[in-house]
Symmetry: C2
Subunit: 352 residues, 2 copies
C-alpha cells in the first residue's frame, strides 16, 4: 500500500555563510504510483555531513551543483516499501542518496542493499558507512602511518576524526586530537585513548602542538582547513603527509583563511593529498571487515548525535558548523526496522 503524501525539504536559496532555514522550503506533495523499474524507499536515517553544505553552493563540487527548487541532496538509509524493480523486495534495507524527504522514488541506481551486520542501525551511517571508509582509507592509504609516528587529527571528536585517531592508535601512532570543547577533549582522552588533546578554542595552538609533538607532526589528518591547517604546517616533521579530508572551516565562507606557508612543503619534503571515500567504495569490504573486528574487540568507539524529525534537518546541518554536535550527526526521519535476528549471534561491543 503506497502512502499518498511526501514531505520534503527543497533547496530554494543559496546560503551565504551559515545555512538558514529560509534557504529551504518545506514541501508536501502527492506521491505518484510507481512506474515499472521503480522502488519506493521510506527514509529512516539521514546522514548529516559537512559535504551537504558544499552541495548547496552554485558551483559544482565532486557532484554537480543542485538546481534551486530540487529536493535537498542527502544520503541516508531506508526501507523499501514498494518495488517494481526485480533487484529489490519490500523490507530490504538500503543505503543511497535518499534526499531530505520522507519517501524517495528511484529507479534503484545508487541504492545498495545493506548486509545484515551485528551493529545498531545507526552504525551503517557511521563506522561502517562512508564515515568509516573515509577514516580507514584516508589514514591508511593516504597518510600511510608507521608505528611510532605522530598523528594529529583536527575535529578529532568528530565522526571521521574520532575513528582516524583510534585507528592511528591501533597502528601504533602517537595520537594528538584537536577539538573545540572540553567535553570533546575529555572524550578523546578518556574514552578514545588519544595520547594528548588540544582545545583550540582556549589553548594557544602553536604552543600546544610544540609541546605535544616535540619531534613535529608526521601525519596531519585535516578535517578543517584554514588556520588550524596553517599551524599544523608550521610544525611538520620531515616527509610529513597531510591528508586533506575536509576543510569545514572554509565551507561557510565566514572564516576564510588561506595558509600562507605552503613553501614549508618544500623545506619539509612534505605533501598534501586530497581524497574522497567515493573512490574506495569498491574496496569498502576491506575496511568494513577490519572495522567490525575492531568494534567487536572493543578497540573502536563512536557516538551518534541523533536528532528526531525531518523538519530538523537544517538545524542538524548547522550543528556541524557551530561545533555543537557530538559524534556522527544523524536525523531520524522514521522508525528503524526491527534488528536483523542474526545480530544476536555476534559478539557485543561497546557503543560509547
Amino acid at each position: 500500500m503506497i502512502p499518498r503524501f511526501n514531505q520534503r525539504w527543497l533547496l530554494t536559496a543559496r546560503p551565504q555563510g551559515h545555512v538558514r532555514e529560509s534557504d529551504f522550503t518545506w514541501n508536501e506533495s502527492a506521491l505518484e504510483a510507481l512506474e515499472d523499474g521503480q522502488i519506493l524507499v521510506r527514509t529512516v536515517h539521514l546522514s548529516i555531513d559537512p559535504t551537504n553544505r558544499l552541495w548547496m553552493n552554485e558551483a559544482d563540487s565532486y557532484l554537480p551543483a543542485m538546481p534551486l527548487g530540487s529536493v535537498m541532496r542527502g544520503s541516508g538509509i531506508g526501507v523499501v516499501e514498494g518495488s517494481r524493480n526485480s533487484r529489490f523486495v519490500p523490507g530490504d534495507v538500503v543505503q543511497g542518496l535518499t534526499g531530505w524527504q520522507r519517501y524517495a522514488v528511484s529507479d534503484g541506481r545508487g541504492f545498495a542493499k545493506l548486509p545484515p551486520l551485528p551493529v545498531p542501525f545507526t552504525a551503517y551511517l557511521g563506522a561502517l558507512g562512508h564515515i568509516g571508509i573515509t577514516a580507514f582509507f584516508g589514514l591508511l592509504d593516504i597518510g600511510k602511518p608507521k608505528a611510532g609516528e605522530t598523528l594529529v587529527v583536527s575535529a578529532g571528536a568528530g565522526a571521521v576524526g574520532s575513528l582516524v585517531g583510534q585507528i592511528g592508535k591501533i597502528k601504533g601512532c602517537r595520537v594528538v586530537g584537536i577539538a573545540g570543547s572540553e567535553d570533546k577533549c575529555r572524550w578523546m582522552r578518556d574514552k578514545l585513548g588519544f595520547d594528548a588533546v588540544i582545545n583550540y578554542r582556549i589553548e594557544n595552538l602553536p604552543e600546544a602542538i610544540r609541546r605535544h609533538c616535540p619531534e613535529g607532526i608526521d601525519i596531519y589528518f585535516d578535517n578543517v582547513g584554514g588556520k588550524i591547517l596553517e599551524v599544523a604546517m608550521d610544525h611538520l616533521a620531515m616527509r610529513a603527509r597531510i591528508v586533506a579530508c575536509g576543510m569545514i572551516s572554509q565551507y561557510n565562507a565566514t572564516d576564510m583563511h588561506s595558509p600562507v606557508n605552503l613553501a614549508t612543503l618544500i623545506v619539509k619534503r612534505a605533501r598534501i593529498e586530497g581524497f574522497l571515500c567515493l573512490d574506495y567504495y569498491d574496496r569498502s569490504m576491506e575496511a568494513i571487515g577490519e572495522i567490525v573486528e575492531w568494534l567487536s574487540a572493543g578497540k573502536l568507539h563512536y557516538r551518534v548525535d541523533l536528532m528526531d524529525g525531518l523538519e530538523n534537518a537544517p538545524k542538524a546541518l548547522n550543528r556541524l558548523f557551530d561545533g555543537s554536535n557530538l559524534g556522527k550527526m544523524v536525523v531520524r526521519v522514521s522508525e528503524e526496522p526491527a534488528a536483523a535476528s542474526q545480530a544476536q549471534t555476534y559478539p557485543q561491543y561497546p557503543l560509547n
Copy 2:
C-alpha cells in the same frame, strides 16, 4: 703559492623585499696559510639561484639561517689551488658551498670533485648540476608523468623549468610553458618544442590555461607559487600532481598571495608535494647519465646567463626576481680552467 688577499661579499643586513646591494658589505681581507686538512679553492663560477634569497632571511630554511656578518652563502665551482688534505690535489675541479668570495678555505667537507664530462664548464652548474637533478627527479619521481598527460611548467624558460618541460616532452607529455616575456615564450615554443606557451604578463592566465589544457592539468610543476599556483589549482585534472619545487613569487614578500582554493585538492583527489634536490644527491648519477645522453642526442637545450665579476653577484641575484635573466644565472668570478682533454672524445651537442 697562496694568494694573500681575498674578496668577499658579507651579508650585513636582512633584505626587505628585493635584495639591495646595501644588504651586503664588500670585504677584502688577508688569507691565512692553510692548516692541516684544509684546501684553498679559487671560485670560478657562482651559481645564482632563488634559494640564495631564502638563505638571507632571519628564519632557518632547509639550511640554518646565516648570521649577519658572515660570507654570503652560495654554491659554486672552483679549482683547488692549495691542499693540505689528502683527498684533493691542486688542479682538482670541485663543486660545493664556496660562498660569494674569490677564495674559499675549507676542510673539504661538502666539496665534491667533478667528473670530467663532455660539457662546457657552465653545464656543471646547469643541466648536470643541482638544476638538472632538480628537474629530473622533481618531474619523474614526484610528478610521475605518463605519456599523453598534460604538464604545465611555470617559469618554463627558467633554468629548472626549461629542463622539466623538455624532459616532459621526452616522456611523451603535452607540455605548456608559462613565462613572463615574449622572448622566453618564443624560446620555449621554437627551440624547446613546448606544445603551447603562455605569457602570463599579457595573457589572461585562466583563459589561456583552459584553452591549452582542455582536459585539465595532470602535472603542474611549480617554480613560482602564489597566484599562478592558485590558477593552476583551479584547472587540475582528476588525480593531478603538483610538484612544489620553488615559490619564487613569495620569496621577496612583495607579492604574497596564498591560494584560496586548497579544497580543490579534495575534489580532484590531487596532491601537492615538495622536494629538495639535496635528497637525490646519492642518486645523481642516474640523472646525469640520462641527461648527458639527451644532451648528446640534441634532445635537451639550455642557456646560461653569464655575468662577469664577483662584484655583480647581488645584481645577478635580483635578475632572478625581476624576470630579466635568460636561463641559468651564473656569475663568473675567475677564469675557467682549460677543458678536460677527453671532452673531445664525446659527441657534440647543441648548447642553445
